[in-house]
């Protein structure tokens, strides 16, 4: 399955919706996409993973980098709509308590 993404501007930040499997064939490209969005200094960055059925640790590393950038700048980052397999890798890596994980984009917008 090919990977893609969609960026939506929010009143207070950005929403990145990812689609496809995120492994090492895609994570370097995804890192560049995230850096471009992070450069706009979004107060609230929401990452919608509803369309992501699989993610490995190279994808998780991209999200950790983004979280570090946002946290350092006192800005927010939310993950939402994690599928079971994707949530599993966050639990295995003990990152499920580090990220703010919401059930939906709406929940992330209102948090």
């Amino acid at each position: 399955m090919s990977q893609t993404h969609e960026i939506t501007t929010l009143p207070d930040g950005s929403l990145i919706s990812c689609i496809g499997e995120i492994d090492y064939s895609y994570s370097p490209e995804l890192r560049q996409i995230f850096r471009q969005v992070l450069d706009t200094k979004p107060q609230r960055l929401i990452i919608d993973l509803q369309g992501v059925a699989y993610m490995d640790s190279s994808g998780v590393a991209v999200l950790v980098e983004a979280l570090q950038t946002q946290t350092k700048a006192k800005r927010q980052l939310f993950l939402c709509n994690l599928q079971t397999k994707v949530r599993g890798i966050f639990e295995i890596a003990r990152l499920d308590m580090v990220f703010k994980i919401k059930d939906s984009v709406e929940d992330a917008k209102q948090a």
Binding site: D23, D56, S57, S58, V60, V62, V64, I89, I92, A93
Partner: protein, 151 residues
């Protein structure tokens, strides 16, 4: 005890390009159930092999796109139960099994999670120097445990 690759039922030789990681994952996904693993256990085996082969491409081969990785699979049915053994061979230079270590997860930083994941989700993880030639051999085993979700 490590079994020889010649005991395997399936072998796959993959060039060291990330675009083919999905092919390895699909193979493990298909074979997991046939070896008696539950869907959750199969997912873990898929993730473990993906992490291991990504590490080889990224760190072992330093993203060189013209190297090879061999993945060999055989079903297990021994005193520990039913499951799957996966042997992953590379031809990496300048890497010794002693260098392959888990990192401290209490420090939040990107990267370095792959080895932790292997040890966390597989029943057996063993790195060794390849007996036949230069490179590292990784042996992974996953057994079916009826109490796990998805059994």
């Amino acid at each position: 005890m490590t079994f020889d690759v010649s005991d395997s039922h399936i072998q796959m030789r993959v060039i060291s390009q990330p675009q083919y990681l999905c092919a390895i994952r699909n193979m493990i996904n298909i074979i997991g159930g046939k070896c008696g693993l539950s869907s959750t256990e199969t997912d873990h085996a898929v993730l473990a092999v993906d992490e291991a082969t990504t590490n080889i491409i990224r760190h072992g081969y330093k993203d060189a796109p013209d190297q090879f990785i061999n993945v060999a699979i055989r079903p297990l049915n021994d005193t520990a139960g039913q499951g799957m053994e996966i042997i992953i061979d590379d031809q990496c230079k300048d890497v010794s099994p002693d260098q392959i270590q888990e990192r401290d997860l209490s420090v939040l930083k990107p990267g370095g999670l792959g080895i932790h994941i292997l040890y966390r989700i597989m029943d057996h993880v063993h790195f060794e120097q390849r007996p036949d030639m230069q490179g590292i051999r990784l042996t992974l085993r996953k057994y079916h445990k009826p109490q796990e979700n998805g059994s």
